[in-house]
């Protein structure tokens, strides 16, 4: 029983309180680049969660056979192979989406979140725990992507998943789309605001003033 509760905690902790994006500074690159619409954000979240969970499972299974010195290369090769599979599946069944995501699916390979979790967690834990942790982190990442993707698409185009929510002026409605939301700077501002919101709700996450206690640069991968 204790073991199940443990797994449950491993799964839910990364959702908000240990969120990979807003707290661990992992996987930022794709978190901003693909969030101009909710659909791309969803596809990206799903791809990353699948890759992360499978990679954690594989690496955790073979963890006793990986020599310490070349572990990074092995982990990257496992991840890259999984990413190639996902990329080919997307190209085969979702051509439009694959074009919209461009190189960002391939870039899951170097997503710091995947390597960060396999390196920090999967390497030292049994497959079930490792995959639970990976799934939790994947979902936490997805949560951030979906929130930002929804805000950007709603305010930028007045739509959600392509359906009109706020009728725009061009189509005879009242809403003037803020195309600024679709540009790069808005992504930064929104993520900054999100981090601020999360840390105001959970004050224990707030960082100390930088000049008094510099944090160790965790998650620099």
């Amino acid at each position: 029983m204790a073991r199940r509760i443990d797994l449950w905690a491993t799964l839910t902790a990364p959702l908000v309180s240990q969120n990979p994006v807003t707290l661990q500074i992992l996987g930022l690159c794709s978190a901003l680049a693909v969030t101009t619409s909710l659909a791309t954000a969803l596809t990206m979240s799903a791809s990353l969660t699948v890759v992360l969970t499978l990679a954690a499972g594989v690496i955790s299974t073979i963890r006793r056979f990986i020599p310490e010195t070349i572990r990074l290369i092995i982990q990257i090769i496992v991840i890259a192979s999984l990413v190639i599979v996902i990329d080919q599946v997307l190209q085969a069944y979702f051509v439009e989406m694959s074009r919209a995501l461009s190189v960002f699916v391939s870039l899951i390979t170097t997503n710091c979140l995947v390597l960060g979790r396999t390196e920090a967690y999967a390497r030292h834990h049994r497959p079930v725990a490792a995959m639970t942790d990976a799934l939790g982190n994947g979902l936490g990442y997805s949560l951030v992507l979906i929130v930002i993707g929804a805000i950007r698409e709603l305010l930028g185009k007045g739509e959600l998943l392509g359906f009109v929510v706020l009728p725009s002026v061009d189509a005879g409605g009242w809403y003037t789309p803020m195309s600024f939301m679709l540009l790069a700077p808005a992504g930064f501002f929104l993520l900054g605001a999100l981090v601020w919101a999360v840390r105001s709700l959970l004050p224990e996450q707030a960082e100390d003033a930088e000049f008094s206690s510099p944090l160790p640069s965790e998650g620099a991968e």
């Binding site: 807003t22 500074i25 992992l26 996987g27 930022l28 690159c29 794709s30 978190a31 901003l32 680049a33 990074l72 290369i73 990257i76 090769i77 890259a80 192979s81 990413v83 190639i84 990329d87 080919q88 461009s102 190189v103 391939s106 870039l107 390979t109 170097t110 997503n111 710091c112 390597l115 540009l183 790069a184 700077p185 808005a186 992504g187 930064f188 501002f189 993520l191 900054g192 605001a193 981090v195 601020w196 919101a197 999360v198 840390r199 105001s200 004050p203 996450q205 707030a206 960082e207 100390d208 003033a209 930088e210 000049f211 510099p214 944090l215 640069s217 998650g219 620099a220 991968e221």
Partner: protein, 204 residues
Amino acid sequence: MSDLAYLFFEAAFVDNMPLTLFLGLCTFIALSKRTESALGLGVAMIGVMGLTVPLNHLIHRIILAPGAWAWAGYPEIDLSYLSLIAFIGVIAAVVQLLEMVLDRYFPQIHASFGVFLPLLTVQCAILAGSLFMVERSYDFAQSFVYGIGSGTGFAVAVVMLAAMRRRLAYANLPAGLRGLGITFVLAGLMSLGFASLSQMAATL
């Protein structure tokens, strides 16, 4: 303006890796706490990107591109699905090589880089450089210029961000915005500035 010079400008400022394409953000944010580490990261980025993009271009053209094996009588072979593994392997090898050379001949520079050099293997921006090179079918000279250019753009951006973050020591920020939050806002403001450069490029 000649084509190559324009490409350099475009790679460095218009399509700036961290600020307009959101690539390499993890290192961009994590290593911009101090100006020295930001400078080291910037120089390493220029070196690694200037080497890996043209190298990957050669590998792509000679081995992986569709029809690359036509001379051997196999025109139908298309290995381009292997490019991801090949590119990441080249990047890991170049980073390792650079580390060994620096360690052997320039130990002081090597010491100042510290942990950042091996981390470059998993830098999104470096891999993205090679992937964009394939997607936009650059030739060898263009790949070289593109690699150096995007490395330079990254270096400029990360040094500027580090310089700004130092000034935050004197700012009285709300607790929740400290650290990561305000860094995103700063990066957003810089991104606005770089967006205006793309207007400039349109008139060149």
